[in-house]
Symmetry: C2
Subunit: 136 residues, 2 copies
DNA sequence: CTTGACTCTATACTTGGGTACAAGGTCGAT
DNA sequence: ATCGACCTTGTACCCAAGTATAGAGTCAAG
C-alpha cells in the first residue's frame, strides 16, 4: 500500500502519517525504487491504535512510550500499566480542576448574593477600583 | 510604578505584562520622557483580574471580550453572563469528555475480562495483527 | 562618572499536533 | 507520450500563551 491509501483507510491526513513516522510512532516503511513508501496492511491498524489512544487523552509522547515498551518486549505489563495509571491520574486531576472552576463560575452566575443586576458579579467585582464605570 | 514593580506585585513576568498590552487586555500606560511605561496602582489589580479569570478557564480572548464589554459600558450584563455561560458550557463538555476517557482507561485497567497478564489490554489488544510479539 | 539594575523594541523560540505549500519526480491509463 | 493523480523532501505556518535573547538606552547610588 502507498501512503495515500493508508492515510485514507486510517482516516488521517497523509502529512499526519509522515509526521508520526518522523516522531518515531510508526516504524519506517520500505521504499520502492522510486522512493515511494510501501506499507504493509497492518499499518492502518497501527495508525488506528494511535488515534484511539489519542482519543483516550494520551499524548503522542505517551503513545510512543507504550509502543517502545512493546517493541522492547520485556518489562511490558507493569510499565504499560504505569503509563495508563499516570494518564488516569492526570485525567482525574484535570476533572477536579475543572469542577472547581465550574463551581466558581456557577456560583458567580447564580448564588453570589448580588442583586439580579450583577449576574456576572464574580467577574465584575474584580474591577473593584473602578466603580464609576461599574455595571451597577 | 514602572513595569518591573507592577509585574512583581501581580506575580507575572514583565514580558507577560507587555504581551497583555499588545493583545489589548491592558490599556496602554503613560510613558516617561525616557520611554519607560508608567503605571497607575490599579494596574496590579487589573492584571490580577486577568490571572483570576484565566484560572477559571477563560482564554485571553474571552477575557478581552469581558473587558471590552465593560469598557463599552452598555449591554454589559447579558453579554458578560453569556460569556460566563458559554465558558461554563465548555467546561461541562470537557468534564464529560474526560469522564468518558477515564471510564475507558479504568475499564482497561481493571474489568476487561482479560487474565491478570493483560492489565493494559485495552491498549495491547489494539495491536491485534501482531500477536507474535504480544505481551501474553 | 561608572556600575549594575532596570527598561526599551524586535524577533525568535517553546509545546503539541498537526496543516499547507513549493518544486520536483513517478505512476498508470488513455 | 501525455495527463492527472499521486508521491517526495523541505520549509513554513497555525493555535495559545507565553519565555528568551539581542542590542540599545536609562536610572540612581556610590
Amino acid at each position: 500500500m502507498r501512503i495515500g491509501q493508508v492515510a485514507a483507510q486510517a482516516e488521517v491526513n497523509v502529512q499526519t502519517v509522515r509526521l508520526y513516522e518522523r516522531l518515531g510512532l510508526l516504524k519506517k516503511p520500505g521504499r520502492r525504487a522510486s522512493g515511494y513508501r510501501e506499507y504493509p496492511d497492518d499499518a492502518v491498524t497501527f495508525i488506528r491504535f494511535i488515534r484511539q489512544a489519542k482519543s483516550l487523552g494520551f499524548t503522542l509522547n505517551e503513545i510512543k512510550s507504550l509502543i517502545d515498551m512493546r517493541e522492547k518486549g520485556s518489562h511490558t505489563m507493569a510499565d504499560m500499566r504505569a503509563v495508563a495509571k499516570s494518564r488516569l491520574q492526570a485525567i482525574d486531576d484535570k476533572i477536579r480542576q475543572l469542577q472547581t472552576m465550574r463551581e466558581a463560575i456557577h456560583h458567580g452566575l447564580t448564588h453570589c448574593g448580588c442583586p439580579e443586576q450583577f449576574p456576572a458579579c464574580v467577574f465584575v467585582r474584580l474591577f473593584e477600583k473602578d466603580e464609576s464605570k461599574s455595571v451597577s
